[in-house]
């Protein structure tokens, strides 16, 4: 762009730094409080770095007061299972919608477009009733099953497949591959960029989801991280802030660490899935 004056650059950084302060303040408060002893938390003076560190006390208290490890493992199991099943179901469907001519294709794709408009919370009541009658409430199945079908995943991968040349598919057919093996051996490798973007979207959405787990499970052995932090807060009556902030840090850390390691992929993935 044009030559920039020092004043313009200073203004840019001043404005961006104040927005950054707003964005990062809660994280700073969380981490800073998680390493403070109680008397410093309840004191009047704002101090970012404690006089006496209480890292071990707060974090070990967090891990012993609630089964945080279990919540994290539940989070990993549930998000991984959801994503795996979503791909297993969506990839063949996306391939069929993009590359095959079959009876009802337009109806099927129209249904996908229609369902994209409906937030899942809108069907939570009947889903809950369904799981109640088949006796699946309060189980891993309740957390995973309703999300195995992702119209968004089907849509995203279908759009991506539309751009894959037909020659690739035809060549595989000439080699005598069945349609199913084309899906897994030709289209899956081709779809990696779209699946990465969808993976970011799906994992972030389900790791952080609160509404459905809150509805679907009640025993704490099935709690996902967001339910876990709420259970922790309610059990501690919201007073023991050091361990509470330590627990929040532990719950937030895995996804943020992943994000910081692969930010470009995350941001591009979100932009890609956002703009569709």
């Amino acid at each position: 762009m044009m030559p920039r004056s020092f004043a313009a650059s200073a203004f840019r950084h001043a404005a961006l730094l104040s927005i950054a302060t707003f964005a990062l303040l809660p994280f700073a408060v969380m981490v800073s409080t998680s390493i403070k002893p109680a008397d410093e938390i309840f004191s009047d003076t704002v101090r970012w770095w404690p006089q006496k560190l209480a890292v071990i006390e707060n974090y070990s208290e967090a891990f012993s007061a609630a089964p945080l490890m279990l919540y994290l493992v539940n989070g990993v199991v549930v998000t991984a299972a959801i994503f795996f099943l979503q791909v297993l179901v969506a990839l063949p469907a996306a391939y069929a919608l993009a590359k095959l001519r079959f009876f009802g294709r337009h109806v099927a794709f129209g249904f996908v477009l229609f369902c994209l408009l409906i937030p899942y919370q809108a069907i939570a009541v009947p889903l809950f009733i369904l799981l109640y009658y088949v006796g699946l409430l309060d189980s891993y199945s309740a957390l995973v099953l309703p999300f195995t079908i992702s119209v968004f995943g089907i849509f995203l991968v279908r759009q991506f497949f539309m751009g894959v040349p037909d020659d690739l598919v035809d060549a595989a057919r000439m080699d005598g591959m069945s349609e199913l093996s084309i899906v897994w051996r030709v289209m899956l490798p081709a779809a990696i960029p779209a699946l990465t973007a969808f993976g970011v979207f799906s994992v972030v959405a389900h790791w952080n989801d609160y509404f459905w787990p809150l509805v679907a499970v009640s025993s704490d052995s099935y709690f996902t991280p967001p339910l876990g932090i709420m259970a922790f807060r309610n059990a501690e009556a919201g007073n023991d802030f050091g361990p509470l902030m330590a627990a929040a840090t532990i719950i937030v850390a895995p996804l943020l660490a992943l994000f910081l390691l692969a930010q470009r992929r995350f941001i591009e993935g979100i932009a890609f899935t956002g703009i569709k």
């Binding site: 762009m1 650059s9 840019r12 950084h13 404005a15 961006l16 950054a20 707003f22 964005a23 809660p26 994280f27 408060v29 969380m30 409080t33 009047d44 297993l88 179901v89 969506a90 469907a93 069929a96 919608l97 095959l100 001519r101 079959f102 009876f103 294709r105 249904f111 409906i118 937030p119 919370q121 809108a122 069907i123 939570a124 009541v125 009947p126 889903l127 809950f128 109640y132 079908i149 119209v151 199913l180 952080n208 609160y210 991280p225 967001p226 932090i229 709420m230 807060r233 802030f241 902030m245 929040a248 937030v252 943020l256 994000f259 910081l260 941001i267 979100i270 932009a271 956002g274 703009i275």
Partner: protein, 293 residues
């Protein structure tokens, strides 16, 4: 190419798993919402009877529902412009220079990635009336402290600030993607033509060319703001005195705390109409502009 029998069979076979799951987990629940809303069903009932529009008439007479609807709209009216403006300003400022771009982008995107529930607990601590950093700052600056989440006059706006904090980074990323698609030489040409300052160039080039992205961001932001739930459930439970009661929270309370499924379904229909209505507005506006996102 004609519809070959083998391709037809393969296509149907490949969408079969998705179709079965979609029928079970999308189509059936969605249709039953529209049935449930006209019944007196309560979870666990052995039978149900159709009651016509009774659930909707009850809604019309229910002050909690109206409060919930208007709170949702107020929340949206604060969060949507707030998070769009902050997202756009962030994107423009980051784009205007070369230094520290990825630092700012990462910092602004962090709230989008972090579990809102965990961060809501942190916000609650920050807003604590006695030892929260917000009141400490207010006092240091000579303002009166508040009991932010317990004051019915401001609690909804406090939740809206948390909503802006959480979502502006998402909008920023979308705006940045839109900005990168605008050809640089347009700005050079405008400068040569004597378009005097940055604001004039913004009005002349950036704003019109960004329009499809802006419409998309607006629609997404409105829909996301209608879905506000986590902060309400974690921090205020709809209170004090219904001041932060919002649609999804009302649906949750009716459907899963009182198990009045028919009543919850009627509110859900209002919720669906709002969300679908906003999405359709997008198509209308895209057709009018002849643009595509």
């Amino acid at each position: 190419m004609s519809l070959s029998a083998s391709q037809n069979r393969a296509g149907l076979a490949l969408i079969a798993p998705a179709s079965v799951l979609a029928l079970l987990f999308l189509f059936a629940p969605l249709s039953s919402i529209f049935v449930l809303a006209f019944t007196d069903y309560q979870l666990g009932d052995r039978s149900l009877s159709f009651v016509g529009f009774e659930n909707f008439e009850a809604l019309a007479d229910d002050p909690t529902f109206w409060k919930s609807l208007s709170n949702t709209l107020i929340y949206s009216a604060v969060v949507v412009p707030g998070s769009m403006l902050l997202g756009l300003v962030s994107a423009l400022l980051i784009d205007a220079g070369t230094s520290l771009r990825s630092f700012y982008r990462t910092a602004f995107f962090l709230p989008v990635m972090a579990s809102l529930l965990a961060m809501a607990v942190v916000w609650e601590f920050m807003l604590h009336p006695s030892f929260g950093i917000v009141n400490a700052t207010m006092k240091a600056l000579g303002f009166a402290p508040h009991n932010w989440l317990k004051d019915g006059g401001i609690a909804l706006y406090v939740l809206a600030v948390i909503g802006i904090w959480q979502s502006f980074g998402f909008n920023m990323v979308l705006f940045m993607a839109g900005l990168s698609a605008i050809p640089r030489d347009l700005y050079d040409a405008a400068e040569m033509d004597g378009t005097p300052n940055a604001w004039a160039r913004f009005k002349l080039i950036t704003w019109p060319l960004l329009a499809p992205v802006t419409v998309f961001v607006a629609v997404t932001s409105v829909i996301r703001s209608f879905q506000v739930f986590d902060t309400v459930h974690a921090l205020t439970q709809g209170g004090p005195n219904k001041a932060t009661e919002v649609l999804l929270y009302t649906i949750y309370a009716e459907g899963f705390e009182f198990f009045r499924s028919g009543h919850a379904a009627a509110i859900t229909i209002v919720f669906i109409l709002l969300v679908v209505g906003v999405s359709l507005l997008r198509f209308v506006s895209l057709k009018k502009n002849g643009a595509s996102a």
